[in-house]
Symmetry: C2
Subunit: 189 residues, 2 copies
Amino acid sequence: MNQVKIAVIVGSLRYASLNRKLAHNLEKVAPAHFILNQLIIGDLPLYNQDDDEEPCKEVIRLKSEIHAADGLIFITPEYNRSIPGVLKNAIDHASRPYGKSVWRKKPAGILGVSVGMTGTALAQQHLRNILAYLDVPVLGQPEVFVQDKKDLFDGEGNLGELHLPLIQNWMDCFAGWVKTQTAESTQIS
Amino acid sequence: MNQVKIAVIVGSLRYASLNRKLAHNLEKVAPAHFILNQLIIGDLPLYNQDDDEEPCKEVIRLKSEIHAADGLIFITPEYNRSIPGVLKNAIDHASRPYGKSVWRKKPAGILGVSVGMTGTALAQQHLRNILAYLDVPVLGQPEVFVQDKKDLFDGEGNLGELHLPLIQNWMDCFAGWVKTQTAESTQIS
C-alpha cells in the first residue's frame, strides 16, 4: 500500500504538553502505511506581511512540509476559548502570501485535550471556522474532546484503557476520510 | 478632568498597516483627557506555558501596560476568518499564568479594517468570544467594520471625510462606555 504522509500540528509548546502526548499515542493506532510527522512551529517568527516576499527558512520549511503532506492532524489545547496564538501564527504563515496557501484541499482531523470539562470544544469550533476558509476539508465525526483527568496518561505518557479505543476509532475514521478525499481530488483533477 | 489611559492594541505588524493608520486617526477624535498608548506586541516570544514562572521582560512590560490602563481598544485585521496569531499570542501572554490575567474588567472596544468586504466582521466575533471568557466588557454598538476602498486614507494616512464622522461617533460612544464601566466597578468594589 502506498505511504500516506500526515503532518501533525500540536498547538502547545510546553514540554509536558498533554496534546503532544496525545500525538505520540496516535502513532500507535495509525495504519501501518501512515507516516505521522510532527511539525515544528515554535521557532517561527510572528507573522508580518512585510516578510511575504522573503520568508525565513523556518517558514519555508513549514510550508514545504505541509505541501508534501497527504493529510493533516491538528491536536490543540484551548487558550481563552480559542486556539493558541502559537497555532494561529503557524496557520497564518502557511496561508500566505495571497494565492500561495499550502493548506488547500489537504484532508484534516482535529483533536484536543484540556484540563477544562469542555475538552477544547470551543477552540475546535474556531479552528473549523478558519480551516473552512482555507478550503481544508475537516472530518466531522467523531469529535474528540478530551478532559485531562486522573489516569488519562500513565507515567510513560501512554493513554489509559478508557481512551485508547476512542482514539483507535477516531484514527480509523480519519484514515477513511483521507482516502475518500484523496480519491475525490484525483477524480476531479 | 482625570486622565483616562487607553491601551491600544493593533493586530498587524506590517509597516503600512491599515489598522495602525486607523489607530492614529483615533487619536484625533478622542476626548482631550484620553491618553491613547499603542502597545508593542511584535517583540513578544511565542507563548509557552513553561515560561510562566519566569516571563521575559517584553511580557512583563505588556502586562504592566495593560494593568495600568483604564480601557482597551483592539484594532485588528482579519486573517483567515479570525484574528491574527500575532494578536492572539499577545492576548494569551497577558492572560497567564492562571489567576494572574491582567485583562479582567478593563472596558474595551473593537474596530477593524480589511480589504475584504466583510471588513473584519468574523475576526471581531472570534475576538468577542475570547474577551468574554477573559471577563472584558466590550462595547456592543456601534460596530465598525471598515473595507479598504479608494480614498479611505489620504497620502498622509488621514481618514477621508466619509469615515471620520463614523469614527468620531464610535469614539464618543466608547468614551461613554469606559465611563459607565469605571463607575460601575467603583460602585461594586
